[in-house]
Amino acid sequence: MTGETRKAQEAFHGTLRAAASGASNGQAPTNPLWFYCDARARCLELSEHGLQPEEVDFPEEELSPAAPDQLKKVDPNQLALWISSAPDPQRTALALFYLDQFDHREICELAEIRLSDLSRLLAQARRQFQAWLNATIPEQGPLI
């Protein structure tokens, strides 16, 4: 979410402090997603400081059946960078969707977006990532 360990740590400890403070006052969070909501808000706030990713219109390409093979050649850190540099709320949507722990309703609640927006953002991100894959890891043609 932040792309920086220091900022992530600050958000992490901020959320923990808020939870501990609430608990000591007898105000334990009732919303099971409270930790994620709070951590996301802190990450976004911290991301506003420092270097900002350049706003670029990424090219988009249709999904390829060869994408899984292309992805095998991708460094996981590159994927992490790619997600963390996405503009929010797309960044939140991608991070939560590919963590594979939340359903679409929970992601909408956490990212504070509607279902149609989530759908659009995910579809757009897939096409953009496919274009990036095609540019960096060209599809291998059939061996003759």
């Binding site: 740590q9 501990a20 999904l63 996981p76 590919y98 963590l99 594979d100 679409h104």
Partner: protein, 256 residues
Amino acid sequence: MKSVELSRHERVLVNCAPIREEKIGDRAMRSAVFRARGSDQFVWQQAFDQAVAGLVQTIPVPSEVSEWFSVKDVAPIKKWSWKKTGRNPAVIAIAASVVVIAAVFAWQVVERLHEFPGAVSAKRLLATASSTKSVLLDPMSVDAGTLGDLFFMKHQLEHYDVPPEFADFRTIGARVFDDEDGRRVAQIWVVEKKMQFFLFPAERDPKTGAVSGFSGWRTVEQEGWAGVVREKDGVCFMAALHGRRKDLAPYLSKAR
């Protein structure tokens, strides 16, 4: 390339379809995924999502981030001090109720320890002792120990003997009466501390008729009166006085 006609809403849902089908918990989503399953586009989308999710799982966690979670107390819980725990109303309520329950239990145990066959009769006679006026008794000034013969000869009461511990006390008066159950009771008033002696039949087993005896001296207390009771030959003797059981203790220890 196979494609399927989907409604706008179904297309919206299919774009958010869970990476693993078993995670679908929504009827509308299940229906949309079921319809989209036949299209190549959806199959590629699922393969793409699964590959990306697999790659996400392999993103290395920086060592400093791992350390955040290796610390035992990520969010240290402040331990309650004994003082704070003691002030908690719930703890006070529990402690109070435990003390009351323990006190009631202990009282019942102590009561049970003092129980003996004839205790009910003895307590009833303590009430009689508290309400007896000396004029009700036939005046006689003799040693209490000599009255056993009188009870036997005049009232045919066998073994109605005053124990040696109390036999030497001078009497003020004596009488024989029937209690509520029609049993013969001998009552003696002595000078010593205005004590009263009672001789009454020991309890018997209702089935066998055998005497429910007990050994040694037992004590009873009721409404400011105390008594020591002993059973011998089917007859109970009780010495009673207005006071506490410790007031009677010297007479028993003297005998020992």
